[in-house]
Every structure is written in C-alpha cells, then in structure tokens.
Symmetry: C2
Subunit: 552 residues, 2 copies
C-alpha cells in the first residue's frame, strides 16, 4: 500500500488555512506560510493570534522547508515564533525575505535561520517534493503560489492572488505556468477563498491610478493617504501621482517607513530622487505641494491617521482644505473605529474619501469569475478552499461544484482537520486537538477561556476588594479598606461605601453568632462577608463587579 | 424684534438628532422622538446610551408635547427615562403608542403619562405650533413625519422614511401632503440622512416578498428567519409566505413575541387563524411545514439566533437541511459577531442566506435619489440633515447644495448645537454642554471617562491586589495574600507568585532601611511596594495589570 499525502490547514480563528498549511509525506514535512491573525473585538487584551503548530513540535526534524507566498503579516507574522522550533530553511522571494528578515531580527532569530531566495519560475527539490513557485498578482509585489509535485501527484497552492492583467508593477500573473500545470494534471488545488461571495472580477490596481490622477489634479490642499503599511503597490501609486503633480511625499507611521525603506533598498519601490521628505519638514511646504502617506487605515487609534483624527500627531494637524484618502477595505470588526476616525476628520474640516463613497481601494483577492477561471485553467481532481471564514469556503466549494468538480472531491474543512490524499481519493480525517494560540505580552498560549471570561466580567463592571481586619473578639477592628476600579466613580460614591461598610459589619456580626469567632471558620466567614457585599452592591447599582474580601 | 425658533438636535453619540430633537419658541417646547443608542464595542459594560436632555430639565414646564414618529427603539427607547421629568402628553399613532405603552409600564410610568393617539392627516395645535403628521413608508407600519407650523414658518421633520411605492402594508408615502407643504412654503427641512452615501433608490419591500416566495417554494427543510423584533412588515411577509406554502410559524425571542402580540392586537399584523404555533410544538411538525421567526439578527449571542448557533436554544437544534435567513443589515460594529454566528450555523449544517449573498433585506431608509426627490418636492429654504453620523450629514448637505440650496442655508451640525431660525436667516449657535448619557445597571450618567478607562485597562490585563501584613518590627508577618483576575492563569503561576512574594519582601526591607518602620511612612511604603510589584509583574509577563497593595 502506498503512502498518503497529509494536508493540514492551520491558522488563527475564523480564517481557515490562511496563516499556515502543513504538507506531510512519510518522513518529510513542508510548511506553507506562518502568519498571524489579529484578535476580534471581544478577545480582550490579546495582542495577536498565532497558528497552533503543536502538531509539528514532536516532528520538527521532519520539516524540510518553510515556503512563504508573500510578505503580508497574515502570512509571515508568526515566523518569529515558529522558527524558534525549526531548523529548516525559509524559501521566499527577495522582497518577502527582506520583510521576513526584520521579523527574525526582532525575535532574535536572524542568525539562526537560513533565508533562501527563490523566484517565480524556479524549480527546486526539498525532500520528496519538487517546488515550483509561480508568479501571482496581489497587493504586494513579488508574491508567488506554489506548484508542489508530491509522490501522489501535483498540488497547487495559490497563496493570495487576483488575476490582475494590469498590475502596478507591470507583472501579470503567470497564466502559462498554470496552463502547464493543467497539462501535467493537477491532483489537488488549494485556493484563496477570501472573496468567494463577491460576484464578478476584482478591479485592476490600475483603477486606483486613475482615481489618484483625478484626485491629485483637483486637490488644492494637502493630500493624506492612509493605507496598509505593506501595500507597496498602493504606496508606489501615491509616489507616482506625487511625482506627476509635483508634490513631495512624507511617510508617517513606523511600519510603513520601515517597509518603504526595505522595498526601496531591494528595488521594489521606484522613488524619484528628492521626492521623499521628512515629516518634520512638511509644514514648511505649501499645502498643494504635499502628500502624506500614513498608517492607520483600519482605525487603530494609536496609528498615524488615528493620531491625526484625534489631534495627537506630533508633527501634523488636520486643517480645513486637507483631503484624506482611506485607501483600504475595513477588516470586519474595524468598521466602527474607522467610521469614528472619518467623523473626527470631517469635524476637523477635512474632506474624506473612502471605500463606499469613492473609488479609492480595490481588493487584492480574486472574485468569483476569477475563481472560475482558476478552476478551469487547472482542472484539479480535488479541491480544497482555504483562506477565508467557513462562509467563504462554503461559497467557494459550491462554486467549484458548479464548475463540475464532484462534491465528494471537495473538502470544506476547518483548521486542524487532516486531509489525506492518494492519487485517487481524498479523505477527511479527525480534527487534531488544539486551535489557535493567543499571544499576550510575553505570554504565548497561557491565556485561555478562564482568564478571558474574567476580563469580560472586569470590562463589564470592574472589581471591588474589601480588606477587613478582625479584632481578637472576632469583631471589626477599624474600618475596612476598599479597592475598586471600573465599577463606580468612587469620588462620588461615599454613600455606597458607607453602606458597604455597614453590610460587612452586619455580616461579621451575624457570622460570629452562628459560627464562632476564629480558627477554622475563617474561610467560611470570608465567603459570607463576600456574598453579602456582592448582594449589597448589586442591589444598589444593578452591576455585578468581581467582589473579593480578605478577612484577616 | 420678533422671536426666533430654536432647533436643538440631541441623541446618542455618533448619530445626530437621531434620537431626539427639541423645538423651542418663546415659552413653548416640543420634543420629537426620544430614543436610545446601543453602545459601541469599546464602551465597556455600558448597557445603552440615552440623549442628554439636561437642556430641558430647568424648562420642563415649557414642554407642551412629545411627538413620536414611529415605534423603533432608537426613537422611543428613552421615553422611560425622559417622561419621568415631563408632564406633557405623548402624541403618536396607534401602533407606536402600543409599543410605547410597554416601555412606560416597564419604567412604572404608564399611569403618569398621557398617550394621545394621532393619525396621518390630523391637524392639531400644541402651544404656538400646528402639528400635521403625514404618512411615511419605513420598516415599521404607522410611521409619520411631522409638518410643524411655527410662528416663524413651516418646519418639516421626516422621521425615518423611504419612498416605497409598494410597501407591505399597501400604504405608500403621502406625496400629496408633501406637495401641499411645498405650496405653502417650507422654511426648514429636517431630513433623515442614514443612507446619504447610497446612490440610487432604496428597493421596495416587495423585493423581499419575491425573494421569500422563491425561498419558500424551494426549501425542503425548516426555514428560520432572523430579523429585528420591530420589523413588523418583514414579519408580515414571513407570515404571508408561510400561509401560502402551508407552513406553521413559531416565534422565538421575547421582544419579537411581544411586538407580534401588540401589532396583532392593534390590527397591524394580519395573522391567519391557526398559523402560529408555540415553539415547543415545532419539533412535532415535519420540517417542510415549519417556519421559525427569531431575534438575534445583529449577532447578539444571547438572542434566539445566537443561542441556536451555539447549540444553547432550549427548544431547537440546528440540523442539516435547515435554511437560515438573516433578514437584516449589520449595524456597524456588529459585523464580526454576525459573521461568527453565520459560520457557526454553517458548521452545524445549515444553509445560511444573508445580505451580500442573497436578496433578503432592503433598507428602511431613503437613498440619494429619494433624498433629491424629497428636496425637490418640498423646496425648503433651509436644510438641516439629521439622523446619521457626521459623514452622512456631510454627504446629505452636499447633495442639498447640488440641488440648489445655498451653502449658507444648510446646517451640518452635531448634537447639542442650537440652531436659531427666523423667517429669513439660520444661525448656528454655540454648543450646549453635555453629550450623551451612559446607562449602566441602575446608574444613569454616573459612568464617565475615568471609569471607562479603568475598564479598558482591566479588560486588557486584569488586576493584581496584594495584602501585606507587617509585624511590629516593620518586617513581613506571614505570606502576602494575592487576589488577581484577568491577568494570568493563577493555577499555573506558582513561580510568578513566588517571585511576587520575594519582590514585596525586598521592597519592604529596602524601604524599612530608608524610611523607618511605622507611622507616617506607611503610605510611602505602600507606594514603594506597589511600584516594585508592578515593575516585577511587567518584566515577567509583558502585561500591565492594575496593581494595588494594602500594607497593614
């Protein structure tokens, strides 16, 4: 009996196989991507989420390669964690490796990890796998997908892609390579599902060039463009328009400054001499000679645009006549914060353009008609939608079925589900234990549901601690001390605290009568006082803070 | 010199004049609507937001009428608070008064407040104002706008409206009345801005009838429709489709059951005999004979649909073959929760239809072409966009300008800004102090920025309290007691707590040497221990819980 290929999508919560995919054949494993996810609004205090790669930890010596499709955070952000466990080299294109190098330096792993440069069109061998990176168009340059010839057949992993015939870097996707894969016969396609609910064909990045051209031609004041720090092609478009309309460009926001530096050094960003100026110098220039590129397009209050909206930017103030362009799509969950920032900017007198009212952003992901083209180009035997929430995978799976792939050859699965492939069949295995891993401060994976629930309760109503000192007779010795935050405004709560004191006094008096003063009854006494106090506070305020007493 | 009319939009944060508008002329005030807003994701622990009607509190005897446009929460929800202060009667249509009665009963104000039934077409006098309610189409029946003839001229307030020519209740908006207003001359128009960024004309509710028809004709299993509890016309459409396709209807979710009862009693909901069944009986019927109407269309985890998605509904379990329809638009900020519920429902085997992939919802508000028609019908001299965030008001204001209203006759203002009108000019006055008011538990307005910031910190990293007992020599007497929640998982934090103990010990030893043991130095000692502990915990975990020590 021949061996099977195992495919295991991992990732943050929600999006499936977005952040990491594991391919395993006998004694060899390759990993495709290792990215992070950002926490949802109700994951309180969590900094970021990394894929749960526990599956790999007792098999690290089997990992022969880490392949990276492109340099976005949700594909490379977890390398600083993952590579602490692996000896395998990372294979990525030059720009991607440039961005990865920064992450590894931050994680103090730069000297431990081998970065191998590859380029679209290469063919190389790792273990039993032949890897063929092929060029895709996406919202960052130098992105690739991978053709992976395994002992059971050819697997194609698209990475993030769109079929943009006129991308900003002039390098359209490699249709010929896809056709060639098709001729050889594709066993299994793993394809990006992000926009599986969007009809039609995603607009080309060129649309933005036209929109920017009109904007730059007509704007009389300063232009401020907020976008993702990693959206190098959008940054290029801003620089092009600035050059054409004789404006200087300043970049604000640490991550964007860093990405611009790397992309420029590696030749992926074409910046005419003298066009970039420091943000400190921008106020010396006339308004119509200025463009500012800023981070914060997702409404993050501490990023550059957020600071501008709240009047807290060190070098800039929004003025009447400024035009602000938010050239990004709101990630679900961020809408409220983005709209708040838009309202604030309008309040300060800016004219604000954003998706929904102006043509200032296009998606980096394929829409349904492109997905159909991909499937028809490759004609895969098996189809696994990845990169998306379950609703997207489901829609993508249905689309594949409409394209003629039999339902039993389509695997709509969640992260942690092992797929097994031989040349003829696809089986969906059990779900491996574990899920995503929360990173909070320096802690990785130590925050679980119990701590999260406590944070929810604290966020809702705060806490209230009473320290109660008993005298030798078991009565109150002096006034209890109260510590409370997030519950009521203490300065105005004198009466409430007075009542809390009386409640404690009564509870102790009653308990002393029932249980006797000291000794083994102390824990019970503590519980009684705590219960009485919690009941009192709820009756008075209708709120349920976390209540604790220390009876000494 | 003649007196001026003052117009004051109030409301929750974000949406302007959505929840309440005050009109004042000399010694008379009328209030239009008194609704609530729901808190944004980062307003931790807040139950709801009511308009800040502080402006009225020293003028309550001037208030001659409270006019209500329709029965949605964001227009009536604050009456239970407001009417505790006012003696004026409420004027509303029958259905609206039916819904208001419930609120007043909850607030124990039902016997204190006079509810006067009005209907579209009425003309009545309150103080110096002549009020003419006119019929509008919206997503709840019996909605009106108000023509208000004031001593300075005719003011028209649209309420929430759309120009639906084929509404579910068969009662299109009263164009003739608007034309009549126009002939008399409209001084000022206050108009709904919710969809000011949406091009075109909002689809008629009839579109949903067609979509439901197709759905009911084809669905083989149970159909579960989630929508707003107050969307009576959508509920009517479900009942109609159920009747046509021979299905029984069960309603789950307290607020929807209540609204169905009231609307039916008052004759606004046409329910064929025998079609409604109790939710407990639904499992006895064959799947293709069942429709379930549910609350929870905004992703609320504790509403009916949320409980179904998480497998926690008392009477129902989602099964393979169920079709779930989310017939609602996500309110910004709720997207994440709604998508989470959709993914969970898919995971349980349901087929889920929702806005974006299916035609299962239309807006209840006018789009841009309708806004243009309104302005051209009324030809107002002054224009005040209301009901929307600043971005919507701005877009609506620009639209009015494009329609020929001079810029100086358009007032795009925020809540709390007093507008003054005579027959010839509109002036924007200063902003009155105050803003929105948070309701949390039984507290109204007692939660301010300080408590909110504390809740944010607690949500982020929890708290850590150390109770330290000193002996007579000023050294540690026994082990410190720790209380901590939301910070780390304490059961696995033995080493961290050991280190905290040592840190406290060192801090006390050092402080005793410097400051002497007892007495006046106690507060300073407490601060030193607290600082040392906070530094230690941050160094160990990278987190910043709120740290407090009690040194006794």
């Amino acid at each position: 009996m021949s061996s099977k290929l195992r495919i295991l999508p991992l990732g943050g919560l929600g999006e499936i196989g977005k952040n990491m995919t594991v391919l395993e054949y006998e004694e060899a494993i390759i990993v495709v991507d290792a990215g992070i996810m950002f926490p949802e609004n109700d994951m309180l205090g969590i900094d970021l989420i990394i894929p749960d790669y526990n599956y790999l930890l007792d098999k690290t010596e089997k990992v022969v390669a880490v392949l990276i499709t492109h340099g976005h955070e949700d594909h490379v952000g977890a390398l600083g964690h993952l590579m602490a466990h692996l000896d395998a080299p990372i294979y990525a294109t030059r720009l991607t490796n440039g961005l990865i190098a920064g992450k590894l330096r931050e994680a103090k792993l730069f000297h431990e990890v081998e970065l191998r440069n590859i380029q679209a069109g290469d063919v190389f061998q790792v273990g039993p796998f032949t890897i063929e990176p092929f060029h895709v168009a996406h919202s960052i340059p130098d992105g690739v997908g991978f053709g992976i010839t395994t002992p059971v057949g050819l697997v194609v992993h698209t990475g993030d892609y769109k079929f943009d015939h006129t991308p900003v870097d002039g390098w359209p996707p490699d249709f010929a390579k896809l056709a060639e894969f098709s001729q050889r016969g594709v066993l299994c396609l793993l394809a990006d599902s992000t926009n599986a609910e969007r009809p039609g064909w995603t607009q080309s990045e060129t649309v933005i060039t036209q929109a920017f051209d009109e904007l730059f031609r007509n704007a009389e004041g300063r232009i401020i463009v907020a976008t993702f720090a990693s959206l190098i092609s959008r940054i290029q478009q801003v620089i092009n328009a600035a050059a054409q309309y004789n404006r200087k460009v300043a970049v604000t926001g640490r991550s964007m400054r860093e990405n611009v530096r790397i992309a420029r050094e590696l030749g992926y960003l074409d910046v005419p001499d003298g066009i970039l100026v420091e943000i400190e110098q921008i106020n010396k220039l006339p308004a119509h000679r200025v463009v500012i590129l800023a981070t914060g397009s997702q409404g993050e209050p501490t990023a550059a645009l957020g600071r501008l909206a709240h009047g807290r930017h060190r070098h800039l103030t929004i003025e009447e006549g400024d035009t602000v362009v938010i050239s990004a799509h709101p990630i679900p969950g961020n809408e409220e914060m983005i709209y708040r920032i838009i309202n604030r900017l309008i309040q300060r007198g800016a004219h604000v353009l954003y998706e929904g009212i102006a043509n200032v952003h296009v998606s980096g992901h394929a829409s349904r008609e492109e997905m159909k083209l991909l499937i028809n180009l490759l004609r895969p035997r098996f189809f696994v939608p990845i990169h998306g929430e379950l609703r997207h995978l489901k829609a993508h799976g249905r689309l594949a079925q409409e394209m003629g792939i039999p339902q039993q050859n389509i695997a709509v699965v969640e992260n942690g589900r092992v797929l097994e492939l031989d040349g003829h069949s696809l089986t969906i295995g059990p779900r491996i234990p574990g899920g995503y891993v929360f990173v909070d401060g320096s802690g990785v994976g130590d925050i679980g549901p119990a701590v999260m629930r406590d944070r929810e309760r604290l966020a809702d109503s705060g806490f209230f601690v009473a320290v109660v000192q008993l005298d030798e007779q078991g009565g109150l010795a002096g006034k209890p001390e109260f510590i409370s935050r997030g519950f009521v405004y203490l300065d105005a709560a004198g009466e409430l605290l007075q009542g809390a004191e009386e409640t404690i006094e009564r509870a102790i008096a009653a308990a002393t009568v029932v249980a006797g003063a000291n000794g083994s009854g102390r824990a019970e006494l503590n519980d009684r006082v705590q219960d009485a106090l919690a009941r009192y506070l709820y009756a008075e305020t209708g709120r349920r803070p976390m209540v604790y007493t220390v009876v000494k």
